[in-house]
């Protein structure tokens, strides 16, 4: 049983990061129909910028803030420099553009930073907390709590503010949103900036546990995409559920079945789900209009 709880906590911790990546995916996808494979790079940036700014003598909270700002600036640049000029391009072209952006960001990171692994100090010490027989890293609470706060903030933003409602309107029907006077271009830029911020925060929270380096983004993007799909593309709560589920599957799969195939579980499950339910777990069936 302590084993079970141990896997549960580590699954939820890594799942929270997948959830944040998937949430960023969903935000961008809803606003602009773009599947952003550069999403994982913001997680990398969040971690790397914090590490290097912190190493330069800046206190950790301030370094984290700088990292989020850098992520947002790059997220906005991604939209204005690469996505907006390609308006009207096919879905595959847009995917290639975002992958080009992720190669570019990775290339920039290996020049600006380096190719080493880096660690951040845990926010509140390294002494494990004993819970139900399992040793829990205090940083896990930061990751899970931080994710909950981000989800809550996003929810409040979308449901309680005028700007958030404009985002929802743009997601629902871009043309109709424009007709009622919403500047959908600004909204799309906002979505890219917001999802970059979410990714950056995820990177800052998880780096004390998993370390970071210039090339961690690709696998995170793939798993975030898988999580978003698992929950049904375009459904924010589904994305969070998909992310947590994926994290749990990986942790239990690695613990009870095979740790060498840890990274495979996500994709086996996504294939199995798509075979059984082609619209994801929480997606709605769509009917093609001729």
């Amino acid at each position: 049983m302590p084993e079970f709880f141990q896997f549960l906590v580590s699954g939820l911790t890594i799942g929270a990061v997948y959830a944040l990546v998937a949430l960023g995916f969903t935000l961008v996808y809803n606003a602009s129909d773009v599947v952003n494979f550069a999403q994982g790079e913001f997680v990398m940036l969040g971690g790397m910028v914090t590490v290097f700014v912190h190493a330069a003598g800046v206190p950790l909270p301030l370094a984290a803030l700088v990292a989020v700002i850098v992520s947002v600036v790059l997220g906005l640049s991604l939209y204005w420099l690469a996505i907006a000029p390609a308006r009207g391009a096919s879905a595959v072209s847009l995917i290639i553009i975002t992958i080009g952006a992720s190669i570019l960001l990775r290339g920039a990171a290996q020049i600006v930073f380096d190719k080493q692994f880096h660690k951040l100090p845990a926010f509140s010490g390294d002494t494990p907390v004993q819970m139900l027989g399992a040793a829990v890293q205090p940083q896990s609470f930061w990751v899970i709590g931080g994710t909950a706060v981000m989800v809550l903030l996003l929810y409040v933003f979308l449901e309680r503010t005028l700007l958030g409602k404009a985002v929802l309107a743009t997601s629902a029907n871009r043309f109709a949103a424009r007709l009622v006077g919403i500047n959908t271009t600004t909204i799309m830029a906002l979505a890219f900036g917001g999802s970059a911020a979410i990714g950056g925060v995820a990177g800052i929270l998880i780096t004390p546990i998993t370390l970071t380096s210039y090339d961690v983004g690709t696998l995170l993007a793939l798993k975030g995409f898988a999580a978003a799909m698992l929950g049904g593309m375009g459904n924010p709560l589904g994305a969070v559920a998909g992310g947590l589920l994926l994290g749990l599957l990986e942790a239990f799969g690695a613990g009870y079945i095979s740790s060498t195939y840890k990274d495979a579980f996500a994709f086996i499950v996504i294939l199995a789900v798509l075979f059984a339910a082609p619209q994801g777990l929480f997606g709605r069936r769509t009917i093609e209009r001729v």
Partner: protein, 314 residues
């Protein structure tokens, strides 16, 4: 010469001439090597283009089949004592079978769901190759025995230039001919509208599956050829980034254009070779060039150029 490119056999003729004449301008064996790499990648891209450009289905995991072909000729002779050529055929067979089995449920999916399913398949193949190190040498890869045919050993970059060049010609010829067959027409029909195709009596699922299997065999053959040529394989050849590279070749060259796939492959293979002079800036520039070319040439190089030529004539 440009007019010839509008005719099906014209393309083939021009390609044959280019392959035959190009070596005259090569100062060193390095150029033979890069050109062979282009031919092999172009071959894989042409196959993927049948799936993407003709049948309108996306695959973000096609390097998986490439990897299967590559590792078939690596594992077969080394571990199982199977001759290289038989291993190559077995690789094709395995890829076709896998494509058939996986394709049935996967190809019912549409859009991004199809993208993630094929992506998942490719990642799984790469993971198996990386993990089963007893057979595959793990992340470090493994060496491949040279191809021997009736006592003749195929080695040297100029030999492989001609082998891969011949392979590319054959692949191009088949792809061009496919266009004019009922199958090719069915692909185009389901590309334009799946429902309309179904209404006219086309078995949509069967033809999608056919395109998927054809593309898988192309990729597998290309993988085998590359492995035999290099004498070495590593898991990156089956990886996600290689899948994306293949997709980018197809899209950058021009969806649906056989010639485009060759041009796309040439650009994407030669670009990193040129960019190595920029050393650590290589990835940065590669990413930037991909973005810029997709923004300004979203229809693909070949369709854009041909439109340009037509426009100037009119």
């Amino acid at each position: 010469m440009l007019a010839a490119l509008r005719h099906r056999y014209g393309i083939l003729l021009v390609l044959a001439i280019v392959i035959a004449v190009l070596p005259l301008a090569f100062p060193s064996s390095y150029y033979f090597r890069v050109a062979s790499l282009v031919w092999v990648s172009a071959f894989a891209a042409i196959g993927l283009n049948i799936l993407m450009g003709k049948a309108g289905q996306v695959s973000l995991g096609h390097a998986g089949f490439f990897g299967i072909g590559a590792y078939a000729v690596a594992i077969g002779p080394t571990h199982l004592g199977v001759p290289s050529l038989v291993a190559l055929l077995l690789g094709c067979l395995l890829s076709a079978l896998l494509a058939f089995l996986v394709g049935r449920p996967i190809l019912r999916l549409k859009g991004h769901y199809l993208a993630i399913a094929t992506l998942g398949f490719g990642v799984l193949v790469a993971l198996v190759i990386t993990t089963e190190s007893r057979w595959t040498g793990g992340p470090d890869g493994m060496s491949v025995m040279k191809l021997t045919l009736f006592g003749w050993r195929a080695s040297g970059s100029d030999t492989w230039y001609w082998i891969t060049g011949g392979l590319l010609l054959a692949g191009t010829w088949i792809a061009l001919n496919l266009d004019e067959t009922p199958t090719g027409r069915a692909f185009r029909a389901l590309h334009d509208s799946e429902i309309a195709a179904r209404v006219t009596g086309i078995n949509v699922n069967r033809f999608k599956l056919q395109a998927f299997v054809i593309a898988a065999v192309y990729a597998s053959l290309a993988g085998s050829a590359l492995a035999l040529m290099n004498g070495f394989v590593n898991p990156d050849q089956a990886g996600f980034l290689h899948s994306i590279e293949l997709v980018t070749m197809v899209v950058l060259g021009g969806l649906g254009s056989v010639l485009g796939s060759i041009v796309g492959a040439a650009v994407l293979i030669m670009l990193p070779q040129v960019l190595t002079v920029f050393q650590e800036y290589e990835n940065l520039l590669l990413g930037a060039i991909i973005i810029v070319s997709m923004i300004f040439m979203r229809e693909g190089i070949v369709p854009m150029l041909s439109k340009f030529m037509m426009g100037r004539r009119a």
